[in-house]
């Protein structure tokens, strides 16, 4: 295929990226260099005051906390999702597999907001969980509006995004390789560590990226389950636009968050790429 034909075929993809990614980012960059007007608009400018402010220790600590939450969410999702994906992809009877996958994505049919409220009903002081605990004669827990609740909500919300790519790579895994490992004396645990996990690296990498990035900007779970007691970067940005009406500062924070994600992706590019070769 000629270079020109290739470019032509790439055009729809390039246009989409331009329109939905590059253009908004450029708009945000522009806004971040301006100043806030009295009524919450943007006065164009070209100074870095918003960035200097965003890099103050207060805001950096919020970013660090968000990174921590995203990292923890990703790790916990991986931990919970791997056995599920392994079971569906390798052990479950093939005719059940699509039904099981439908069950995994079924919660998406309900809005995330509604599902967060459902968690509030479960976790609150007079909620389902504490009723159950009291019924069993156990002391009630005060879970709602804690960091644990935020983490729980995040892991719950992101879990399907980890399960699906893991499933995709585990389902493809050639069973003969697992038999070969067993045949060569490897116990099931050693087969998992030395064959299954290394060969599902592409799925692990994809799932981690898919969970980590949205978790970094999460604001609904911290808001609703955390009671906005602990501020994460997502809440901070949201409040700049919705409450403080400081679009330039919000834009600067958003742009820094995007840069952070890009930097992290660049940093982990090698392991991610290596994971793509089976």
């Amino acid at each position: 295929m000629s270079r020109r034909a290739a470019l032509f075929l790439l055009l729809p993809c390039l246009l989409t990226l331009l329109l939905l990614f590059v253009f908004p980012q450029a708009l945000m960059l522009l806004a971040s260099l301006g100043r806030r007007s009295v009524y919450g608009g943007v006065i164009p400018g070209h100074d870095l005051a918003n960035y200097r402010r965003a890099l103050e220790p207060l805001y950096l600590s919020i970013l660090a906390r968000s990174l921590g939450l995203a990292l923890l969410t990703t790790l916990l999702c991986l931990l919970f999702a791997y056995p599920v994906a392994l079971w569906i992809g390798q052990k479950a009877p093939p005719r059940w597999r699509s039904a099981l996958l439908v069950l995994i994505v079924l919660p998406f049919w309900t809005s995330f907001l509604v599902r967060m409220y459902a968690w509030i009903f479960i976790l609150r002081t007079e909620g389902l969980l504490n009723h159950l605990l009291l019924h069993l004669g156990l002391p009630p827990l005060s879970l709602l509006y804690t960091d644990v609740a935020v983490l729980l909500g995040q892991v719950y919300g992101e879990l399907p995004f980890m399960i699906l790519p893991l499933y995709a790579s585990l389902e493809k895994l050639d069973r003969a390789l697992l038999e070969a490992a067993a045949d060569l004396g490897a116990s099931p645990a050693r087969t998992l560590l030395k064959v299954t996990i290394p060969l599902s690296r592409a799925g692990i990498a994809a799932g981690c990226v898919l969970v980590f990035i949205p978790s970094l900007g999460a604001y609904l779970a911290p808001d609703l389950l955390g009671g906005a007691r602990t501020v994460y970067i997502g809440n901070l940005i949201q409040s700049q636009f919705a409450v403080a009406r400081d679009m330039p500062f919000g834009s600067a924070l958003s742009f820094l968050l995007s840069l952070t994600v890009l930097a992290l992706l660049a940093l982990f590019r090698r392991p991610l790429r290596a994971g793509q070769e089976p």
């Binding site: 003969a176 390789l177 490992a181 067993a182 045949d183 060969l199």
Partner: protein, 356 residues
């Protein structure tokens, strides 16, 4: 006893499909035994039961005299060469070969030495650092063999290991695998659907059909004296005829085929007068210019040139028989020519419908 395999009354069904029905088989230590049969005959199922990947519905498996029921695959003293090699794509050649030894917790130096020796054994020295996707089919085959042999198993199972290779390479590997087996003295259980491969490589062959072993014997025994119609057909006897047993004439017995031919066969004591039997005659035991107790006149219907020999299809009454002639004697006949087809009474093999 080390390396002996004994299978007793083994049965396995997948739902309604019976894969193995009552298979019993004894393999001597150091023997090269081939399971030969068409796809779906149960040969691979038998191999998988031996390896422990499947659990039998009934029957016993003894490895080196030990009952291995309940032993998971990773505890069985045997190794497998898989049909499509099943090499680990995330490991190098040496990493693949070393996999089993690493699991045994061997010292690094020992592993390196044994891997090097195994790669030398399969004539791939110095390729240890190659990635699997950089190897040719034949090289993958050798790595799979080295990986399975490096732990010095009591029994090696090979599941159609040469099926994916082209014909020239396959012929080379047949000889090489056979030589390797003779040198190491390991028991080999080899699965194939290729009768030539089985004849070339095996000490003994077990021909399987529909979940049963039809006949077990040395290559000569099977080739010279197939017992059942299936074995004869699978080992290219080609001319299979249904006939009614007639009168005895001394050491011979007369047969009349369904198509109306009168044949003379050696009486092996299995013919009952008036009974209907199947008989088979190998194309190469018949001739268009020799002599024998049987001489039938017919016409040439077709000629199939095969290089080292020519197969002639000769029509005699209602039957069409295939005669093989060597290249030197095959010249000069054309379709429609009248010929005399002859063969000794000893060439007529009495076949049973099913194994007795």
């Amino acid at each position: 006893m080390r390396g002996a395999v004994s299978v007793q009354g083994l049965r396995k069904a997948y739902g309604d499909v019976v894969a193995l029905r009552e298979v019993s088989l004894d393999v001597e230590p150091g023997e090269f035994l081939t399971l030969l049969g068409p796809s779906g005959c149960g040969k691979t199922t038998l191999l998988r039961l031996l390896a422990g990947f499947e659990v039998p519905d009934a029957g016993r498996i003894l490895l080196s005299g030990r009952d291995v029921a309940g032993l998971p695959p990773h505890r069985r003293p045997l190794n497998t060469v898989f049909q499509h090699y099943a090499l680990f794509p995330h490991r190098t050649v040496a990493g693949n070969v070393a996999f089993g030894l690493e699991g045994e917790g061997r010292a690094r130096e020992e592993i390196r030495a044994r891997v090097a020796r195994a790669l030398e054994m399969v004539r791939l020295p110095g390729l240890g650092e190659r990635r699997i996707d950089q190897l040719s089919g034949g090289q993958k085959q050798r790595v799979a063999l080295a990986r399975a042999m490096v732990r010095e198993p009591e029994v090696l199972l090979l599941d159609e290991p040469l099926a994916a290779l082209d014909i020239k390479l396959r012929k080379e590997m047949q000889v090489e695998v056979k030589n390797l087996q003779e040198r190491l003295g390991t028991t080999f259980i080899f699965v194939t659907h290729d009768q030539d491969e089985a004849l070339i490589m095996s000490d003994r062959i077990a021909v399987m059909s529909q979940g049963r072993i039809e006949q077990v014997g040395t290559p000569e025994e099977l080739y010279e004296r197939p017992r059942t119609r299936f074995v004869a057909d699978f080992l290219a006897v080609r001319n299979l005829l249904q006939a009614t047993v007639g009168a005895r004439k001394g050491a011979l017995v007369s047969l009349r085929t369904k198509g109306g031919l009168d044949l003379l066969a050696e009486d092996d004591g299995g013919y009952r007068e008036g009974a209907t039997v199947w008989v088979g005659i190998r194309p190469e035991r018949m001739s268009l210019q020799g002599a024998g107790e049987n001489a039938l006149s017919g016409t040439v219907e077709d000629e199939i040139y095969l290089g080292d020999r020519t197969d002639w299809r000769v029509r005699i009454g209602e039957e069409t028989l295939t005669v093989a002639e060597g290249a030197a004697t095959a010249r000069g006949r054309r379709r429609g020519d009248a010929v005399i087809l002859s063969f000794p009474a000893g060439a007529v093999l009495r076949l049973e419908e099913a194994p007795s």
